[in-house]
């Protein structure tokens, strides 16, 4: 296995962990934010360093230089490959952006130590390929949101029940997988079904989605964003389900995801609370990613991995825009017009740009990925695949409807300045730049995701000739646009 030139992975995980310990002793929330910004910024630098190092090496997978954790665990614990290499800087950037844009009104409600702890766990999970390591870290990642709910005095049962069920089914399923002889071949139903249910719960597939709107509604919105937007459920699906499940199981979860995508897109349209609206919109997008992941054809998988990145980015920006509006206006009721455009045109712009990027509007980073998913799905499910376009249409309507509700419809009269501040402006410009640059020059991203998809298909022991011959090429439609 190739080695990175520096221990980027271990540093990216240990720096926020250290930061969490340091911040837990700080009482001044202003200082805590500045320190959190420093630690998450350093983690971002390390994650970006890892990505650059890995890209320059042209390796299929690599581990750290100093093997500190390898020494502790006895085998390589933190390893990156084509799939996870860009996920780390993306996740680190999400955390950095959320910390950076936390407004003064939210300082007391948002826990920076928990945010950094969550960052360390998520980065560790995304750079871990050991199944039990992924399972344990997925479980640990649910702890900070749970603590946040408790600290705010909000009901925790809905979240706790779902996460406990997720862990139970995950442990049960993987125990059976191991008893049947490890991964990389199709397993029996008794092993696969618990894993399938676990992934459905974690991804918020209908009818297991109740925890997601509940979390967005009750936890601090920043915490909910950090837990959701890295799309770690997709990582669980790829690492644990894809390698062990027969094709019909993957098709089943794909069909369930399709239904979920349309159902939650419809639900997003009728929501009156902005957080619940965000939750349903998010489920719809993450379901579309799952649809592509479970179709298991090169085109759909490449599309899904591209949309994974674009959705994570776009939904983070979208969530940050809602969070910034909340910081100025309190909880946002979408059944009323707020007319905030004249005070925060840049925020309105970010809201629109990220919303449109999330639905794959042409020229934005999500466009090509969405096209590839639709192509791949139609090849596998010729009739049901059309449903993806309905979900995308509904999501697009929901985004613009929310835009009109929040930013237009009346003249908002404010006696205090509500315009966008420096750190928010930085986030707006950074996100918008990535969305447009990624949209206008998609080749590098799509190519890297294509390589990742081929690696995944090889890991699944899929004969690509067979896939092409039996599926896509047979329909003469492997997307030669």
């Amino acid at each position: 296995m190739s080695e990175l030139h520096l221990p980027w992975l271990e540093l990216a995980v240990l720096i926020p962990l250290l930061g969490s310990a340091v911040l837990s002793r700080m009482r001044d929330s202003q200082r805590a934010r500045n320190a959190a910004l420093l630690f998450s910024g350093l983690a971002l630098v390390c994650a970006a360093g890892e990505f650059v190092d890995f890209t320059v090496m042209h390796a299929t997978q690599a581990d750290d230089h100093f093997h500190l954790l390898t020494f502790l665990f006895g085998r390589p614990f933190l390893v990156i490959d084509q799939l996870s290499a860009p996920l780390l800087p993306l996740t680190a950037m999400i955390f950095f952006m959320v910390v950076a844009t936390t407004s003064s009104t939210k300082l007391r409600r948002f826990s920076f130590p928990l945010a950094l702890l969550e960052e360390a766990i998520t980065l560790a999970m995304l750079s871990c390929k050991e199944p039990w390591g992924v399972i344990v870290l997925l479980g640990l990642a649910a702890v900070p949101p749970y603590l946040d709910l408790r600290a705010r005095g909000k009901p925790t049962r809905v979240f706790a029940i779902h996460m406990a069920a997720f862990m139970l089914f995950m442990v049960l399923g993987w125990s059976f997988v191991e008893s049947e002889g490890g991964q990389h071949h199709a397993h029996s139903l008794i092993a696969v079904i618990p894993l399938l249910i676990a992934v459905c719960i974690r991804s918020g597939i209908v009818p297991f989605h109740a925890w997601l709107p509940d979390l967005c509604e009750n936890a601090s919105f920043g915490t909910a964003l950090l837990f959701l937007t890295p799309l770690t459920d997709g990582y669980a699906a790829v690492r644990l389900l894809m390698a062990t499940s027969p094709s019909w199981v993957l098709k089943s979860i794909g069909t369930l995801s399709l239904i979920t995508a349309v159902y939650t897109a419809g639900m997003a349209l009728i929501q009156k609370d902005a957080r619940r609206f965000f939750a349903y919109l998010f489920i719809s997008h993450s379901s579309l990613v799952l649809v592509g992941l479970e179709v298991v054809t090169p085109t759909a998988l490449t599309g899904a991995l591209s949309v994974w990145l674009s959705s994570a980015l776009a939904m983070t920006g979208f969530g940050l825009a809602i969070r910034a509006v909340e910081a100025r206006r309190g909880r946002v009721d979408l059944s009323r017009y707020l007319g905030l455009y004249s005070y925060t045109p840049a925020l309105a712009g970010l809201f629109m740009v990220t919303g449109l990027a999330s639905v794959g509007f042409p020229g934005t980073i999500g466009f090509i990925g969405s096209e590839m998913i639709v192509d791949g799905v139609v090849v596998t499910y010729p009739y049901i695949g059309a449903v993806v376009t309905i979900a995308a249409a509904l999501n697009g309507i929901a985004v613009v409807k929310a835009y009109f509700s929040i930013f237009t419809g009346c003249v908002h009269k404010a006696s205090v300045p509500l315009e966008i501040r420096g750190r928010e402006r930085f986030a707006v410009l950074t996100l918008a730049s990535i969305i447009f640059v990624g949209g206008l020059f998609p080749q590098a991203n799509v190519l890297s995701r294509h390589h990742a998809s081929e690696e995944l298909l090889k890991e699944r022991n899929v004969d690509l000739h067979e896939t092409i011959g039996g599926g896509e090429a047979a329909h003469g439609a492997e997307a030669t646009h």
């Binding site: 009728i270 309190g330 009109f404 237009t408």
Partner: protein
Amino acid sequence: MNPSHLFGLIIIAAPLVMLAILGISAVSRKRPLTETAIGRIVQIGIITGFLASLGMLAYMLVTGTRHVPLYLGDWVHVHSGFGSDYHFSIKFLFDRLSIPFVILTFVICGTVGAFANRYMHREPGFGRFFFLYAMFVAGMIITATSGTIETLFTGWELVGLSSALLVAFFHERVMPCRNGLRVWTVYRFADAALLLASVVLHHLHGHGDFDQFLSELPWPAGVTALPPNWILLVGGLLLIAAAGKSALLPFSGWLPRAMEGPTPSSAVFYGALSVHLGAFLLLRMSPLLDQSPLLCVLIVLLGLLTAAFGAFAGRVQTDVKSALSFAALTQVGLIVAEIGVGLRYIALIHIIGHACLRTLQFIRAPSMLYDLRNIENALGQRLAAEHSEAAPTKAPAWVYRLALERGYMDALLDAWIAGPFVRFFSACQALETRWTKWLAGPDAGAPSCPTSNAPLEDLL
């Protein structure tokens, strides 16, 4: 470089550069562009594109070329080594259909741009208006010159978004926002139909290049290689897309609503260009229509019904923009019917003539009312109203009501589609709430979502 390629590049690049400059300047808070600078950028962009399109026309006439493809390479190209390639080509096409449409776009957008420069003077959203205007021009040019269905879809979406946001331009009022959302909703479903048609084409034929599946014969000639039984499906989806964009039945309800936008955008969108985009799509796909008589019959019927509806509802409209929009709808219906019976060149000439006339009417309408009042003030009396024969005086009241309510088109869509949709999902919402409450247990207490919407300054 071949001169045709140079002209083609300038035609495509001019509106895109204009859009980029206006977009980037919009995010600059310290030194936003002045009205004069914006006007100058628009002027340069439109004139450059217009001159290049004239150059392309001259090149085609002189050399006798009827078909100039401009292939800019693959935007995305993925090769897996297993015969499973993914291409997204950027290709533009200049022929007897696209060149007239491009010239029409530049002429009308240039005229309306110059008009809007004065009309929108000192409006708070001057920069926003011209940014959306530039997006529209770019969308129109991309759509008109697209050589693949994906490129066409890209331009189609840009036109849709700019239309909806311009309808809601006066966004400090509720009605423009509601109407903008209505327009966007119809457009999204039309876009979904176009995307589906594109995907089905890939599924059947392997690519979305017009030269490949409509043959390289210059427009309007061309032969489609699709299986006959699938032509009706693809054609039907394209017809839905065209109906949504051109406000054909049953989507006509959004057209008068779109008049909430500023007059210049109403003129360029709903009098001249955007409203003809559906007809343009049918013209571009006309080799497909030739293969299916049933599809042609459907198109003729839809066109005639729309024309009749436009004439019927337009006769009782009480404001000039609505009356003009229904008049435009009548003509668009006739154009679609002409396409259905195979009169492709007649339809193209009809589009050009109608777009020019309607633009003039739209941008003259506000000043004409102003002039009329001035004349009446000077005379000191009302001008004698000529007896209008627009609507028969002996028609029953319900006929007037039907026309005034625009055939209850919106009400029917609300009752049959929006209503059941909202009721179904509201019922699901109620079920979910009960389920979540049950899971949360009896100690969950009061609703967790604070309903206070007090603005920050009230809380302080």
